[in-house]
Every structure is written in C-alpha cells, then in structure tokens.
C-alpha cells in the first residue's frame, strides 16, 4: 500500500496545457455545397418573386412599376444567396479523439463542440437536391432533446457515412467500456463481500 502510494503521481495540469478548441483546423464542406445553396435559394425565392409579378395582371398597372416588386424580391433573394454562399465558405467541421466540432456564421460566428460521451445516436439524412449533388447532413442527438443537438450540413455523402460509422463505433466502445466497468465493480464488490464474510 505504501509502495503504491509512493509510486502514485498526480501532477497538476495547468489550464494552458488543456487541449484548446481554438487550435482546431476545420475541414471545409463539400465542393458541391455552394451549388446546392444557389439552387435552393433560387427554389425558395423564385415563387414569391413570380407571385409578386402577377401584380402586372391587375388592370391599370403598367409594366415598369409592375416589375419593381418582383425585382425587389429577387434582389433580397440574391443578397440572401450571397450571404449563404459566403457562409458555406466558412462552414467547417473537425474531429478530435473525444469530440466533434462545427464552425458556422459570417457575422455572428460560432463554434460548437459536442463530446462523444454525450452522443446518444447519429443519423445521416439527405433531400432529393442534396442526393443529386452527392451531399448529406449528419445529425447528432444527445439525451433528452427530440431535435438534433448538432447538425453538420454540406457534407460529402461518403464523408457523412464514414463519420456516422466512426461516431457509432465510438458510442459502442463507450457503452461497452461502461458495461465492463460495471461488471468490474460488481466483481470487486463480490470479493469485498466474501472478504467481509471471511470466505476469501
């Protein structure tokens, strides 16, 4: 026991020595994501623009003023598209040994880090447009919430699948470790019981 105590070391870890999330190098989203952003922006903003353009059918409205409305809607759509395009350039994800991080935002920038220890399940999803461009999104769920706690969008479908498998494996290993720990504790407790009863 005394030998054990002598060999036991517990050096202090200075806070500067902790792994720093700021040192992360983020992987960019898939190349096809910008095209996907352009198409979805158009799909979203074209119908309202056409709807406003129907104003030209109102008697008494001349063509030029009648085009102003759709032009404004299209301009807003264009600005939104530009913003989303720039956002796509900044988006990224990074995988460490014990957690996964996502970066997003141009004006309000954020980095979210989700430790594997807290992930309950992982899923990949993709809509028709995403599938056409070989994209997928990875959703990570923690305990309690009904919606995903972290969603990585704009991933290459193969990367998303690989990540899902990797994370699922991490969860499996974690759960197996926890089960072994429980069994180990049970065995040591049995020994303790036997010792207490003089059986050992």
């Amino acid at each position: 026991m005394i030998d054990q105590a002598r060999s036991f070391e517990n050096p202090q870890t200075p806070s500067e020595a902790l792994p720093d999330y700021r040192a992360l190098v983020f992987e960019p989203v898939a190349a096809g994501f910008r095209g996907y952003v352009a198409v979805t922006t158009l799909v979203y903003w074209l119908p309202p623009s056409l709807f406003v353009g129907l104003g030209n059918l109102i008697p008494g409205v001349t063509l030029l003023p009648g085009l102003v409305g759709p032009a404004i809607v299209l301009l807003i759509g264009l600005l939104v598209g530009m913003y989303r395009g720039l956002d796509a350039d900044r988006r990224g994800w990074a995988l460490r040994a014990h957690d996964i991080a996502a970066r997003s935002g141009i004006v309000w920038r954020s980095i979210t880090v989700l430790p594997f220890a807290r992930i309950q399940h992982v899923e990949t999803t993709s809509g028709p447009l995403e599938r056409r461009r070989g994209l997928a999104r990875l959703k990570l769920f923690t305990a309690g919430g009904s919606s995903a706690d972290l969603t990585l969008i704009g991933l290459d479908a193969t990367t998303a699948d690989r990540l899902r498998e990797h994370l699922a494996e991490q969860i499996r290993q974690r759960d197996a470790g926890a089960a072994e720990e429980g069994a180990g504790a049970a065995a040591s407790d049995d020994l303790a019981d036997h010792s207490a009863n003089g059986d050992a």
Partner: protein, 519 residues
C-alpha cells in the same frame, strides 16, 4: 421465453401480467375529465369562445353536447382500462396500453430517475395511488400506472431503488436504501416550510400573473359592469353623483386604482392559498442516495429523485420573492425540457425557502456545503452596447420624428425620455445580475432582472459547448459562452474571450474524462 439478457418474459395474457383494479376506472375517468378541462379552459375563457358558444346555444343543447362527450369519454376509459396490463419484473416494468392501437413499453428500473406518487382526493377512499416513472430521453412521462393499491406502489418504488443498486452490485447499499425508503416519512425533514412560508411562496409565484393575463379580458368586462352598477347604486343612495366624479378626476382615478389594488390583493391571497393547498405539509427528506418530497392536501404527492440523476440545481428568488424574502429551489433532471409547460409539474420543487435558511437547504440539496459565492460580472460593454442600440438610437429616432412632425405637445418627448430612462435602468439591472463563479468542480451562474436565479452544476454534467462572437465582440476580445445542459442551454454572455475559451476547454476536458454518463 427469455430476452437476450436472460430475463424471463411472460407472454401477454399470462398470470404475471396484472390488470388495474376495477376502481381505477373512476380514477382514470376523473383524471381524463380534469385534463380535458385544464387543457381547454384557456381556449374557452381566454378567447371569449365560451361567451360566444353560450350565446349561440341554449343550456339544453350545451347539456346534450356535454353529456354526449362525457358518455364517449366513459366508453373510451372503459376500453382503455380493459386493455391496460402491466408487469413488474425484477429489473423492469412493462406496460401494454392503448385505445385503438395497443403499444407495449418496457422500461428498465436502472433508467428510472424519478418515481412520483400522486393521490388526489378522489383516489384516497379507493385506496389507490397514481405512479409515474420518469426516464431521461423522454419529453413526457414514459410509464404511468393510473391507479394501483398504495402498498403495491410502495413495493414498486422499493423495487426500483433496489434494482438500481443491484445493477451497481452494491447490495449493502440496496438494503440500506430499502430501509431508508421504508423510513421515508419518519426520517427527520431537511426542510418543512410553515403555512406562512408556503403562503408567501404562492404570492411570489409567477403562475398567478400568467393566469390573470389570460382571464384579464373577460374578467375586466365583468368588473367594468360591476363598477358601473356600484356607481349607479351610490348615485341612487345619494352618496355620490356622476357629476361629482367627472368634476373630480383625482377621485375617479383613486376609485379605479382602489379597484385594481383590491383585485391584485385578492389575487395574491388566492395564489397564496392555492400554494398552501398544493404544498400542504411539505416535507423534504433525503439520504446520500436520493431526495424525497411528500406534500399535498387534496392531491397527496410523493416525489423521489436519485441524486445521481440531478444534473443541476436552480435557486430562484422572484421579484415579489425579494420583497417577501422567499426563495424556491428546482432540481433539474435529464430529459425534462424546462421551458415546456407540460413538464412544469414534474420538476423537483422545494417551495418557500426563507432567506435565513437558503444556504442550509441548498447545501442539503446539493449534498455539499454551499453559500452564495462572489460572482464575476460580465463585461460592462454589454450594458453600453444595449444602451446605445436599444435605448439611445430608438429614442433619438423617435425624437427626430417628433421634431419634424407638426405636433407641438411636449408630453410625447417627455414620455419617450421617461421610457428610455426606465429601459436603461432595466438594462443596468440585467447586467448587474449576470455573473459567473468558477468553482473547483463546477460553475455557478447568476442571472435575473429584479429577481435572481442561481444555477449550480458540475462541469461533467454538461452536454455540449458553443462559443459565439458578434463583430463587436470580436473587435473587443469578447465572446459569449453557451453551455448545453440536459434541461436546456444556458448563456454566459460577454466574457473576455480568453476566459470563455479557458472555461470551454475546461468543461470539455471534464466531460470527456468524466465517468458520469449523461444519463
């Protein structure tokens, strides 16, 4: 037949599957009616729909519709009761239920974090108790046994506690815990608020004001009618005349204020009494393993919460509570979305804590010595930016609008300046309240406006970390830290970037090296 874990599974219909007692039909029926009324009351009262419906239909039609609905509900309850089966195994409870579609659910005792008993007045003569088993990961209660004999409920609770210990192979603790569960009500109370404590807690509760907000419309109409009747009566008796009221505006204002004050006072008294009835005889007991609360006059409840499942603790003093020197504490557990009103009733609540006993009760709940720490305030630029963007800019725009408008009254700019001063004061209070304390094992956050909330949690209990920066924050080396806890995201805004990063790194290290699982 056995499951992969080797546990015996009884086939549905075998003698091991239990039915609810026949008397439970009454409990289920009344509970259903109570739930339907509670969920739809606001629609009828708040929207004024009730008045419209009662105008459109006669009493007979209403009685016919109501009676029909009640009969349908009775039929549904009878079918539901007939199909309901439950089985208490060594390590799990299984429930088969459903009206049209029968679903079967198995919940392992190991996952249960809260066993709640409830015995409303109508269940008492039947000797039945409603039992709820709450698990993490479910937004609503997973298992509810609507009415089983009280002794059976106690046995189930003990079996849950015992199985949880068996899982950890700690049999000596299991025996000790079963004893503690037996003793339960006899062990000395950690906290037992008096009538005055509960009454004052009721007065400080914000629920009254939410209810008042909803019913204020229809109620104001009624009160208006009553005031008119009263003035007419006063005039008839000769005590006061309408002419006198119109020539004395101060008297009229005084009368209106008196009516409002009376209304508020009545509301406070009713709220205090409701809290007293709800938490009647509140006793908080506990041991190193779990906390237990027993309370209720009309609906006797017992809540049991494993300390290991307690993710964070919130001590709250509302604005009214500050006046009356009362706090309440809320124990949060995984899976309960704190903002969801459905879950309000499931929180582990300790009401009516006097200022003088706050440290003692919080220490008992947190299971370690606690006293309010010195909090580090967030950056003062939080206040400056909000003053500029939310007060100064809108005020200048409004004043410019007034300057260029043809109106020459000075009342409007004075009112705007007054509102601006109030808003600036509120921003200052908000900034002053916000604080963070970095403890050895966990963080404590303080926030509020006029009231105060202090949140205590261990680093290892967090779920995820987010660091956010606006352009202004980036320029000034600041960052906002968002900490994902099992019951919601908590924000610590406007910290020095280096501190936010250090806290984020520490939290991540603690989560990733912790042996405490999220569940």
């Amino acid at each position: 037949m056995s499951d992969p874990a080797g546990n015996t599974i009884a086939a549905p219909g075998s003698p091991d599957w239990e039915r609810l007692p026949s008397a439970a039909v009454v409990a289920m029926y009344l509970r259903g009616i109570q739930k339907a009324v509670r969920e739809n009351l606001f629609v009828f009262v708040g929207g004024g729909t009730g008045a419209l419906v009662s105008d459109a239909f006669g009493l007979r039609e209403l009685a016919l519709v109501g009676g029909g609905l009640l009969l349908l509900a009775l039929l549904a309850t009878l079918i539901y009761h007939r199909r309901f089966r439950f089985l208490v195994a060594d390590d799990a409870v299984r429930v088969r239920s459903g009206l049209f579609e029968v679903k079967e659910l198995k919940v392992r005792f190991e996952r249960v974090q809260n066993v709640a008993f409830s015995q409303p007045l109508y269940l008492k003569p039947l000797g039945l108790t409603r039992v709820k088993l709450e698990t993490p990961g479910a937004s609503q209660t997973e298992v509810e046994l609507p009415g089983i004999p009280h002794e059976r409920a106690l046995a189930l609770r003990d079996r849950v506690a015992g199985a949880q210990h068996d899982h950890r192979a700690d049999r000596r603790e299991a025996a000790r815990s079963a004893d503690a569960a037996e003793r339960g009500l006899d062990s000395p109370a950690l906290f037992a608020p008096s009538f005055g404590d509960l009454f004052r807690y009721g007065m400080t509760s914000s629920q009254l004001w939410i209810v008042l907000g909803v019913v204020a419309g229809p109620l104001a109409e009624r009160i208006g009618d009553r005031v008119e009747d009263s003035v007419a009566w006063l005039e008839r008796v000769g005590l006061i005349g309408i002419g006198e009221l119109s020539s004395a505006p101060l008297l009229a204002v005084g009368l209106v204020l008196a009516v409002i004050a009376l209304f508020i006072a009545l509301g406070l008294i009713v709220s205090g009494l409701i809290a007293w009835v709800r938490f009647y005889g509140y006793r908080l007991t506990g041991d190193p393993e779990r906390l237990q609360a027993v309370y209720g006059l009309l609906d006797k409840r017992e809540k049991s919460l494993k300390r290991a499942k307690l993710h964070s603790l919130e001590v709250v003093q509302t604005a009214f509570g500050r006046l009356l020197g009362r706090w309440h504490a809320v124990g949060h557990q995984a899976g309960l979305d704190a903002l969801n009103p459905i879950n309000q009733d499931k929180r582990f609540l300790v009401p009516g804590i006097p200022n003088a006993r706050l440290e003692e009760v919080t220490s008992e709940l947190a299971d370690r010595a606690w006293s309010p720490p010195s909090f580090r305030r967030i950056d003062p630029r939080f206040r400056h930016v909000l003053w500029k963007r939310l007060v100064l800019l809108p005020l200048l725009l409004a004043l410019a609008g007034w300057w260029f408008s043809p109106a020459d009254s000075v009342a409007l700019p004075l009112l705007l300046v007054g509102l601006g001063v109030v808003a600036a004061g509120l921003i200052h209070l908000r900034w002053r309240r916000w604080g963070v304390h970095v403890g050895e094992h966990g963080l404590q956050l303080r926030y509020g406006l006029i009231g105060t909330t202090i949140l205590l949690f261990e680093d290892a209990r967090c779920q995820q970390i987010r660091i956010q920066q606006s352009p202004y924050q980036r320029r000034h080396g600041l960052a906002t830290l968002l900490i994902g806890l099992p019951h919601g995201v908590k924000t610590v805004p406007w910290l020095p970037e280096s501190l936010a990063a250090a806290l984020a790194n520490r939290l991540l290290m603690r989560i990733e090296t912790s042996r405490v699982h999220a569940l």
